[in-house]
Symmetry: C2
């Protein structure tokens, strides 16, 4: 899960901390938030100039192409909920003491910028959906449906990749089973 | 999973790469191999002097005490199998092509040093079992039994730690549920 960048992370380009966390060959990684925060929250809060945001769309596409060309497949999923549904979720956090720790008053401020966020998401979907790394927009208010769609996306990708066992790095004829002791 | 140390890792003390991987507060981490390799395989192959091994027992105890005193609980588990059982496992890898990639001819060489390994393990258990970070020796030829014991160890530890939700970092009275919009 990527959080607010640290001072050290901010002293590098925005893809630096992301690149360090990408899964190695043979691994699967799940990112909760990602480099897209740098063209979403950063854009909404105008933390960088719009021209920098435009540059980042291309930088993101190039970065994802690099990963893809080196064997890493990317599934990008936007879990979509309505503004009303979010309100219900926030209220529920206040109603149950064991959920208080999840409640962040700052979320109420961000909520006021809902339409700016939607606008920024649209820009992302338009600028950063390549054939090999498309965005999937998944209706997520019904959790069972959401989970079913995610599972299907992952399953379909795995079938497409058709992973196989690594090659043996020895000559099988050199090791007759009965010779082992 | 810790593998053979890289050149960079070898240019640091043996606990450097381990320390980087310890779970943060609120997290659980599972280590497959650990800093104990540096007093096991390293001892059997005499890669460092015996005096260095003796120093490492204390360094390990001090390191684990540091973690414990900062809130990290440690469960150390040795999955015990017999030399005969290992032979069966190695043979099975040769008999099934989809297991070939797991077969490492080097394992046959290591197997010849079985008694040296056992001796080194005994030294570890004697020197590095503190009250707060004891070693558990778990008979592991029966996988169901093994998994049951591991689950019980983890469950017991979690009950002892009795984790609780983080504190809310806001004043609940400032946010009446009905004021949210």
């Amino acid at each position: 899960a990527f959080k607010k960048p640290t001072d050290k992370e901010l002293s590098h380009d925005f893809l630096w901390r992301i690149h360090q966390q990408v899964p190695a060959k043979g691994e699967i990684g799940f990112f909760n938030r990602s480099h897209y925060e740098d063209v979403l929250v950063v854009k909404v809060h105008k933390l960088v100039a719009q021209s920098v945001i435009e540059e980042r769309y291309k930088q993101i596409n190039d970065f994802e192409a690099l990963l893809r060309q080196n064997g890493t497949h990317i599934i990008k999923i936007h879990l979509n909920i309505s503004k009303d549904y979010q309100l219900g979720r926030l209220k529920r956090r206040l109603e149950r003491p064991e959920k208080w720790w999840k409640f962040n008053p700052g979320d109420l401020e961000e909520r006021k910028k809902w339409s700016e966020y939607m606008q920024s998401y649209l820009q992302v979907f338009e600028n950063c959906s390549s054939t090999s790394a498309p965005w999937y927009l998944v209706p997520s208010e019904n959790r069972r449906f959401r989970t079913l769609v995610l599972s299907e996306l992952i399953l379909r990708k795995l079938k497409e990749m058709d992973p196989c066992y690594p090659e043996a790095n020895f000559n099988i004829d050199d090791y007759p089973v009965d010779s082992l002791k």
